[in-house]
Subunit: 148 residues, 2 copies
Amino acid sequence: MDERKDKYAALKLENQLCFPLYACSKEIIRRYRPYLDELDLTYTQYIAMMVFWEEKQCSVKALGKKLFLDSGTLTPVLKSLEQKGYVKRQRSAADERLLIVAITEKGENLKERAIAVPQKIAGCIQLEPQESVALYQLLHKVLGNMEE
Amino acid sequence: MDERKDKYAALKLENQLCFPLYACSKEIIRRYRPYLDELDLTYTQYIAMMVFWEEKQCSVKALGKKLFLDSGTLTPVLKSLEQKGYVKRQRSAADERLLIVAITEKGENLKERAIAVPQKIAGCIQLEPQESVALYQLLHKVLGNMEE
DNA sequence: TATAAATAAATTGTATGCAATTTAATTTTG
DNA sequence: CAAAATTAAATTGCATACAATTTATTTATA
């Protein structure tokens, strides 16, 4: 089979870039599940907590920008995190349109237990350090290219 | 801030590999939408059609293996594709447990219109050829590592 | 060969994702 | 300053994802 003559080559699953991205992302997130179950967090809740572990508080808008998610996704996620007691949600006094989400003491404490997760995931991705760096840079380059 | 002394560095969003994978995947799929809308396909329906454009027919099980999806996801996707007239679904005569999904004439015809999509997506990913190859290989390496 | 084990889809239940719309608050403008 | 435009969340509707269970069929085995 001469690929130069296959006008449909670009439509083959094996020639896609997005598909392995999509598959890889889903498969890794599936690997997170047993570890996140122990923390009573979903992956989406986990990446939201990562922001709060770094920043203490954040508006829904700002969180959405960091996580590439909109309020349609975040509102139920943040309500769930509030229910678990990891964050508080309250409107900004300065601008009532903004909902400020702030981490609680219980949310801070969770960080200690979450600290073991990244190691375990790295163990299942199994890339050499320089490969991880290369992948990281390529992904951020694509994200940057799409921002334009 | 000396990173060597930050025991929480691994929990920072900027130090994750899975997160940019997840974000990249979602953002690219979002870029597919306007092009796939013209074909009346979602991304999941599109990657399923890619398999049928190559293979003519396939069981749900085999399709799930290729796409990293289970019957819980595929059943409604395939019913939807059948409704649009792009595939037929029928039980295998040899093994009634198997549902064989086969592409229709209308599904085959769709391929001609889909042929323009990959180019348009490549345009928004904007990687140099050697970067695309590197990303492709790293993603497949990770997928391979996780199969074990 | 009758029964147990295994297999394939479908179903059920929960949690995203995201476009589009709605609601409330703030900013811009005529 | 009042009306229009903008902005931020929430809501709505639809389509995934996936674990767990159920149902139907086939294979393995006592």
